[in-house]
Amino acid sequence: MLDVCGLRSLEDLYAHLPAETKLDRPLALPRGKSEYEILDYFKCRAAENASDYASFLGAGIYAHYRPVLCDVVASRGEFLTSYTPYQAEIAQGTLTTIFEFQTMVCQLTGMEVANASMYCGSTAVPEAALMAMRITGRERVLVARSVHPEYREVLDTSARNGRWHAATFGYDETSGRIDVAGLESMLNAGTACVIVQSPNFFGVVEQIKEAAELAHKHGALLVMVFTEAVSLGLLEPPREADIVAGELQSFAITPSYGGPFAGILATREKFIRQIPGRLVGLTKDAAGNRAFCLTLSTREQHIRREKATSNICTNQALIALMATVFMSVYGKAGLRELAGQNLAKAHYLAGGSEQKFDAPFFNEFTVECRGRSPEAVNAALLEKKVIGGLPLGRFYPELSNCMLLCATEMSRRADMDLVREALQA
């Protein structure tokens, strides 16, 4: 090959680089390792993490069972090693699954259009805000304090840099739901959207219809956020919302120390040209057969450059595929039954403990610790190989005596009994 290229050595391939740009030493990295050594390295690291602990952490990342088909399908090289499906004729597999994904996201959320996925729930939120600003021509965003605190931080980062405003409004101390009066006092003709999460960060189910009516009264859009997709198996979909931004980690994605996950962005038909990211649409091939392709790409950066709706390029196709297989395995009856089990387990776990808020919850709830701090409760549980709830003081100083606990279909009754005892001790 060197002969064909008219070169004598591999070094000749970059001989033209200016001397000051060339690295004149080997990289200071170890020698290459064998497959066995690599496996061993990661097994050792994994052993330094928690193993064989029961966990009651949720707070945006949920431990749900993953049907084996999810990995079987996602491990097929034709899906795993393919690219963004620009070449529709040899990407119908990916395109068809994305079309099914978009459809199922619409069915779940009550929306009419869903894109091919976002990086994650947290980054979908500022994209939803930007979308609302494009639609309304306004530049102020109101976000509930009961939206995931890390999602709000991501929103703040975007707002600060994009020169727009994101202000928070509070929650009702009794119910844990949004403070409606507080929201109303902040809404005005400059508000592009109101962002509400349900179930919210405290686990409380919000009244989306009420929030939407309020937002609409002031000409603003309602953005509904969710972090626990399984809840949509049982909860009324947010039909009154204008944009839904959520996280699908619950659908067959391992917690994986925080990623990769898949976010969703869904909206109404009339806003289709303002949605960011990839969209797959129905069409025909030259022989008249049904086919799918990426569509409305004139919204996107590779065509529109600085006038694009977003700079997003990647979606999370493989993660979205796993979620699609998950939705197919559970299906209409299964997702509801799964959600029902989550509801039952969480209510069993909550039994006997002091609830901070009195509004309904799904599979997560906020407990007020009496007598000792949440950290002390957790320390006692850790000795029994149980990871307790998330102490809330870190994000909400006024809730420093509270913790957020989560149960899923994977929570064992015996472990839940340990938590119940610890909370009553």
């Binding site: 090959m1 070169l7 970059y14 033209h16 680089l17 080997p26 990295l29 290459g32 496996l39 050792c44 690291r45 928690a50 952490l57 945006g60 431990a63 097929r76 795993l80 090693t81 690219y83 963004t84 499906p85 070449q87 004729e89 040899i90 597999g93 699954t97 079309f99 259009v113 869903a114 996925s117 990086y119 947290s122 980062t157 840099n161 994009g162 909860l235 009324e236 917690p255 120390y257 925080g258 990623g259 990769p260 129905l282 086919a291 799918f292 569509t295 450059r305 600085e306 700079n311 390029c313 990647t314 196709a317 493989l318 595929l321 395995v329 299964g334 509801r336 509801l343 039952a344 279909e409």
Partner: protein
Amino acid sequence: MIRKSRSHITQNEPLLFEMSSPGKKGYQLPELDVPEVDPAAALGAASVRAEIEGFPEVSEVETLRHFTRLSTWNYGIDLGLFPLGSCTMKYNPRINEVVARIDGLAWAHPYQPESLSQGAMEIIAELEASLVEILGMDAVTLQPAAGAHGEYTGIMLIRAYLESLGNPRRVVLVPDSAHGTNPATAVIAGYEVRNITSNEQGMVDLGALENSLDDTVAALMVTNPNTLGVFDENIAKVCALMHSKGAQVYMDGANMNALVGLSRPGDFGIDVLHANLHKTFSTPHGGGGPGAGAVGVRSHLEPFLPHPRLRKNAAGAWTWDYDRPRSIGRVKAFYGNFGVLVRALAYILAHGSAGLRNATLDALLNANYIRKLLEPHYQIAYPAPSMHECVFSDSRQAAKGVRTGDIAKRLIDYGFHPYTVSFPLIVHGAMMIEPTETEPKQELDLFCDALISIAQEIETDPQLVLTAPHLTRTSRVDEVAAARKPVVRWQRP
């Protein structure tokens, strides 16, 4: 002659919704070991939905067959060369998939105690340190979820830094050869975009740059090697010029596969860059994600990196440091796409110092080999030496009415995924080819034979190429019709 492929039977397959019928299911939940709870009583009747209208009802075997059949309609690296320029579609080692699924890593919750997360934190620290060395930067953040997300982070870092000096400035310069994400990023990060033209070698035109440069300019976003696969020989001068005017240089690291072990952006003056772990470091593209966009910075930008940052505590254990008052804030919840980071570190460990450099040299050799074999048949866009990819123009074929997009479609019949079509925009009818280091010579030869054969077909039977592909189960797809009246979800007829 078509040597790599021939047609075979594929299965037709309806959509999940079309094969559903009431009562079919593919799951079995465990028996509930706690009392059942009535949803209407617990949540309020108004909050409980009716059934999910239209949701699938299929059996387990139908689910498996459905997705398996669909998979056979796809092309992937596992089936052959995937020569998308600037996308670096290289082999995805399967050991990386295995290690990312180890329970203690896959099931680690980001809020579990730090004392029970030391292994995950060590992996992140190890990857950060490896990338610091490979990129020649002073610090790396692994929080961004993708390349474009890394760009966004990088431009915000520049803004924060300039703001700390008193003036964030207004304008970001973007060469006309740049990826579309660059200008789109600059805008969402609150900057105006000023395009600058490339010189006759496809490199940044120093004169044009100097003319565009005033005290409103915050940064230049440069790709090196650029999207022509050409190493910008003036890059050190470009950086020095920018710095002399108080501006910063952002490098799009999409083409790092040309540099690893040979040249380090930090050494030639780059202030901040992103590296696509799903390109250079072999994590699977998965049909369009997930990715990860590591961002490297020089020390003056380090205080502004997204929080939290890893540091060692007094006892020598890893801890997340949230006390970063100058940080731009978070760009993503939690700590980044950890599962992707695990795979990227596995790749670096497998290669080691010498292996990484050899991979780069092989990538350069493969691209130059293709260039040499194809140059007699296609017009090379710029005469400058190629690094890891080469860009041709369809100018000779266009004379016969056949364009780059048509040639790409015909390439499918020959058993290959097309190259990158019509990009970069500064080349009329661009054909951008990046083979990567993991392709054997036999596959490269087949690929070049295919393109040479297509060039001959264009001479003798252009219609054959204009109507391609002919051997796929799906013939040419009508993208215009899809956009005219978009249908983006299935509805019951």
